[in-house]
């Protein structure tokens, strides 16, 4: 089973695969710089104390992204636990 959600809805520990990246031009460019593109595997590794931003493991680097920015990224999560 798979479900598609926004990247900002990922819970810490969850892994997913990027389906699409929608953002205004500059942010899109930044996401692409970080290697966040269709097919990239990511993992949510933590949340800041206020619940936003969250930290994601993207291509070996941990990047903090605000929920409002991550909302434009659609990801696919395997249902029933972690990405195999």
């Amino acid at each position: 089973m798979e479900r598609q959600i926004k990247m900002c809805s990922l819970r810490p520990g969850e892994r997913a695969e990027v389906v699409s990246v929608e953002a205004e031009a500059r942010m899109q460019r930044r996401f692409l710089d970080l290697g966040l593109a269709e097919g990239t595997e990511i993992e949510c590794v933590g949340r800041s104390p206020a619940g936003d931003p969250s930290a994601y493991l993207i291509r070996g680097a941990v990047i903090a992204i605000r929920a409002s920015d991550a909302a434009g990224v659609a990801v696919r999560v395997r249902e029933g636990g972690k990405w195999a």
Binding site: V21, A23, E24, A25, R26, M27, Q28, R29, R30, F31, L32, D33, L34, G35, A37, E38, T40, E43, V45, G46, R47, S48, P49, A50, G51, D52, P53, A55, L57, R59, G60, A61, V62, I63, A64, I65, R66, S68, D69
Partner: protein, 699 residues
Amino acid sequence: MGLTSSSTGAGAALSSLARGEGPLVALAGNPNVGKSTLFNSLTGMRQHTGNWAGKTVVCAGGKCRDGLTALVDLPGTYSLMARSAEEEAARDFICFGEPDTVVVVCDATCLERGMNLVLQTVETGARVVVSVNLMDEAERKGISIDLPLLSERLGLPVVGTAANKKRGRAELLEAIAAGGSSGGMRVRYPDAVEKAAARVEAVLEKRVNGRMDARWLALRLLDPDPSLTASAERFLGFSFFADEKLRTTLAEARLGLLREGLDPARLREAVVSAILAAADGVCAGAVSFKKERGSALDRRLDHLFTGKLTAYPLMLLLLAGILWLTVTGANYPSELLVKGFERLERLLDSALSGAPWWLRGALVDGVFRVVAWVVSVMLPPMAIFFPLFTILEDAGYLPRAAYVLDAPFRRCRACGKQALTMCMGFGCNAAGVVGCRIIDSPRERLLAMLTNSFVPCNGRFPTLIAMITMFCAAGRAASAASALMLTGVMVLGVAATFAATKLLSATVLRGTPSSFTLELPPYRVPQFGRVIVRSVLDRTVFVLGRSVAAAAPAGLIIWLAANVTLGGETVLTHCARFLDPAARLMGLDGVILLAFILGLPANEIVLPIAVMAYTSQGSLFGLGGLAELRSLLAAQGWTWTTAVSVMLFSLMHWPCATTLLTLRRESGSPGMTALAAALPTVFGAAACILFNLAVRLLG
């Protein structure tokens, strides 16, 4: 973060990095891959290094150990499709600075992302050498890299390095001397993109005339970026828009792309996806992981330092701990220095016994005493706080602080990276203002610049410490109590930063918060020895020079003011009396306010000037330590409320001259500079007046 001549001085502008007789080599790479450490290792220089992305905001230049090759350390950048000012600087240097060789430094623990920049750099037609840095860290994490295979696939020389251990240095220098290769692997884009690019390239070929890579420029012009277009036009010396053939070809090519469904956003995605796929292809099989990717220890530490319940208490604890070490550690060297200067003063006195009274007075009571004060009381805390803070920075804590503080900054409609520049402000406000270049949005950058001086810089710590030690904390646990109170003052400074940021973004700098991404680098064991040696040798000597340069003339001025009489009263008395009413309102006195004004060149001379002014009014006062000073100040009518007022005003008043000049340069606006001076002053005056009113009402 350091206050050094390079970070507060003009900085090395790109244009000033003149080409010598030897080759010109640029050091490029993603943020935080150890470029500056590598730069230091290759040149033997001492660029400040730290474990966070965006530390190098100005390009530093130096000569390689061969004495011939000019090396430029570029700010970190993820790609050549720049977004912020420092990334533009890096891109412009690679593309238009005509370096002979570009060394692209990659992080061995995160190689795919570095390959992205390698492939983009190859596309510009530059001669490239790849340095896979942090090899030691990768080995510790169970990552092994097949360097010969990488080199074969990329068609480029690839050298494995561990800059902090000098590993691979000789090989890298050799590869640089060999000049790198321009025959690296080229990314293949989707057919529609290739077709469009080829059309534009054909037109550009003749116009560019071999001065840059026509295919690269064609690809960039398909998805135009105003800053890159401007730089390219300046470099080539003709306007793309005025060139009719080019304009129509570009329009046709873009139309062709649109027909294929590639609007600018889709085009960009297609281009970058192709590069990412190529980067993955290069790394596949060349990089292997013995352990699960992502360090479990790092995640556990993050859980602690950024956890819901632990993040803020730990932040305060770290701050208080550092301050406690500073307060406790500063006492002893301070006492030693005072004794030394007392002896020196007696020697100087006897040497000048034959000189006229005014010469002896001006030199010994004026210049010497203020300088001695600055060195013995102000310098020790500065010399201790800075390396401690640098150790935190080296370990990778600062980006975590920015991560944790992003939410409150966002509520003030600012950027979480302002937390980083604020932290830099603890070291030096001028360096903090320069550091604001890491913030992409111009509005948010101004917010960070204008509010930077609300956190007490290293130069103001000693004043705060002296006030607390003399008037507020006493008894057995004095140094712990002092550290706690000092932490309170810092927290107040941070709170004022938030308040001022919020005020600005509700008035003159209105707008909505922009996007925010911040890399949380791996934790590293700090290089204790190197940090301490370097900051004591480089920084302390620099700060010492600056304070003495500011203190000596200030001492002379005060002495003259105290000894030149006008209408039966000294100039000092006139000045102090003039300032007195305003000062009294704030719980200070005219002399203190005058000291703050004369302390404009450097904050660390404020207290010494005030002491000097008091003693020159007739009271006999040897150099002495804080205990003697306390009785002197008490005799001048100081109470604990005076001390608190001094602390409040020291925390919030106009920034020092260096910071103001830096603000002027960085903002390019005299108005904003004036605002940056007025804002903390108004806050400080208001805080002092309110505090004194409250004390009077309650007590």
